[in-house]
Symmetry: C2
Subunit: 385 residues, 2 copies
């Protein structure tokens, strides 16, 4: 086990009546709030109006900024920073999923900084202060509701960059599984893949003697796999939605990484994919992860075999390669979510494989469970064909 | 799943070199610290001197208060409160196990209150402020290093009372598994039973649809069971000590209780036992828990069967009562730790059964998984004979 630090200060307020606590929570952080969200669905569901009413009852003054898109953009972040400075905003309330929360985190940091907020993403500035941030989560996927990081895309060159710090962890996260009933099956499935990937990126590690962290990860993965068909079968299955939602938070708050080195190659390999093609992050991960697993099975199969046995239910006395059988069952599971598991299923051909692999890592090495050269990454794209 | 709130703000600093961060951490909370500890072992191991040196290097002024005993006493807490007020102490550093940390929590609360600290334990005063508290953990057992509660014994009437609040969670907890090498096997085993009991009290619940919380609990219990023989076999097995230590924290930081009602009858039944007899809390729990399980198996066996299968490894097609077999295997495990599992093994006879049961609950009902009358509690003491 490696040395580690862990804390999870975000107050998780989970359940059917959790929005009722919005007023008392947001009031802890001042009287002027920036209400940040995407657009259509939050309005259509009536959540936006309920939030507005609650904030009014709490005597909180509201400035609104909507329009967050998937892969949240720097231009909107800059607009948010300007608004917060202009109106002397005390805190930010993000209503939405990972993109909205990430955008809000960047605004929270940029407001407390004299220079340009992009400086944090280039390493030019160090994060030390940020506005307090509260969250109402509507999409279980990215885990941003209690994580310390944010990923923003700069439209000038389409650079996707991340930054993070403990100060960015939301102060509170209101999580009502009922708010996820209206998620379409495709978005539900993408979220499920995303949260599983957050666990798997930490799980596939060469660090030995991490039994507790392994077993916690296997517990979360098994729970997600058991509840995924339930939420796809019945979008209003409260308990299954709740299991998925809570798992998505724990998948990315740091707990599943305690004491070990993570991998994160698949995320990078997927980023290049969604950089060129219009494919959702979760769908891209559903394609990349099995291919990455197949590549790793050839050189480092041990943890894949453990995954196969403990998560995918392959019996220890399976007649054949346990790791490969586990990967096959994982693919079958992904297909059951109606996720693509081959590039061809997302209409992606082989013409950019070399370019994406080179952009991904150049002449360096990517990942930790197996260190990948750009030639290996091309091989992984081929395995995903 | 029930609605819940969860946060775990304590900064866990875990690993071989974690004490090196003491100076920088404690300095965040002022320049005058109360150093609170038990006695012999912390001095003998050299840890006390190392802490003193580190605090001196950090330029922190130290006032010392030692002498904490198991079942920490109100008189020493009052002494601590007086010292903190007299010396304008900024923060408290607890070096030890649960008793030291609980004592420190009470001092932290009492220092910020004009009245008598016992008022918090009787409900006369509401907790709103406390000095910041840091911890160097030397005994993995009680989970107090990141929990929000404290239990103190008032020698005037030997009343053992608890109180809690988010403000009492330690700011940081330094957890170096090497510091637990010197724990004698008996104390190691008592700690293991204590942390398992913290999980089991939450696990045995009638709340349905708590799959993630169940599986996380099973993950932690399995890890503890697998690593217990290793630390008893080799006191300096770093990795096994680390698994046990981290499991002890997660057992009681609230995570394993998310979304469900806990039971806590066994803790109460044990408290009466250790109120009359000189028996360690962990040893008492090793006697009470199997008896409680046997009683519950008669009326509500379902979760006991799940425990048997998922934690104690009883095969689903076991020829016999799965729950009873699980309890038998749990007893065998406790015996392997050299823990007593019968009252007779702790030289306790039946003469106080009625008295203890009546003190425990009077004419009311205790617990949730099965609601127990005092007659049921007598039955449980009999099952433990």
């Amino acid at each position: 086990m490696l040395d580690f630090q862990f804390s999870c200060p975000t107050k998780i307020i989970f359940g059917k009546d959790s929005e009722q606590q919005l007023g008392s929570q947001i009031s802890l952080y001042g009287r002027k709030v920036l209400l940040h969200y995407g657009g259509g669905s939050v309005i259509k569901s009536g959540l936006h109006q309920r939030v507005i009413n609650t904030l009014a009852e709490a005597g909180v003054e509201v400035v609104e900024l909507s329009g967050v898109q998937p892969n949240p953009r720097l231009s909107l972040v800059r607009e948010g920073v300007a608004l917060c400075k202009e109106h002397n905003i005390d805190s930010i309330l993000a209503v939405g999923g990972g993109s909205v929360i990430d955008s809000a985190k960047a605004i929270a940091a940029g407001t407390c900084y004299e220079g340009d907020v992009w400086d944090f993403f280039t390493g030019k500035a160090q994060l030390s202060e940020a506005l307090p941030l509260g969250v109402i989560l509507t999409i279980p996927a990215a885990g941003s509701e209690s994580s310390s990081g944010t990923v923003i895309t700069n439209e000038d060159g389409w650079l996707k960059r991340s930054m993070g710090g403990e100060i960015l962890r939301p102060k509170f996260a209101i999580m009502n599984p009922e708010l996820t009933y209206s998620l379409p099956p495709y978005q539900t499935a993408c979220g499920i893949v995303d949260m599983m990937a957050h666990i798997l990126e930490r799980y596939f590690s060469n660090t030995e003697s991490v039994e507790l962290t392994d077993r916690l990860s296997e517990a979360a993965l098994t729970t997600i796999i058991n509840n995924a068909p339930k939420v796809l079968d019945n979008a209003e299955d409260y308990d299954a939605r709740a299991e998925i939602m809570w798992a998505g938070t724990l998948a990315h708050n740091g707990l599943m990484g305690t004491g070990r080195e993570g991998d994160w190659a698949s995320h990078q390999i997927e980023h290049e994919l969604s950089g060129i093609y219009d494919i959702a992050h979760g769908a891209g991960l559903a394609i990349v992860f099995p291919a990455w697993m197949k590549f790793c099975q050839r050189v480092n199969p041990s943890k894949l075999a453990q995954f196969a046995e403990r998560v995918m239910g392959v019996p220890a006395d399976f007649d054949g390669d346990i790791a490969l059988e586990g990967i096959a069952r994982f693919e079958t599971f992904l297909r059951s979510l109606a996720m693509p598991v081959r590039l061809s299923e997302a209409d992606i051909d082989n013409r950019h494989f070399e370019e994406m692999a080179t952009k991904c890592i150049g002449d360096g090495l990517l990942g930790n469970y197996v260190q990948l050269s750009r030639f290996d990454i091309v091989e992984i794209y081929k395995l995903a064909q």
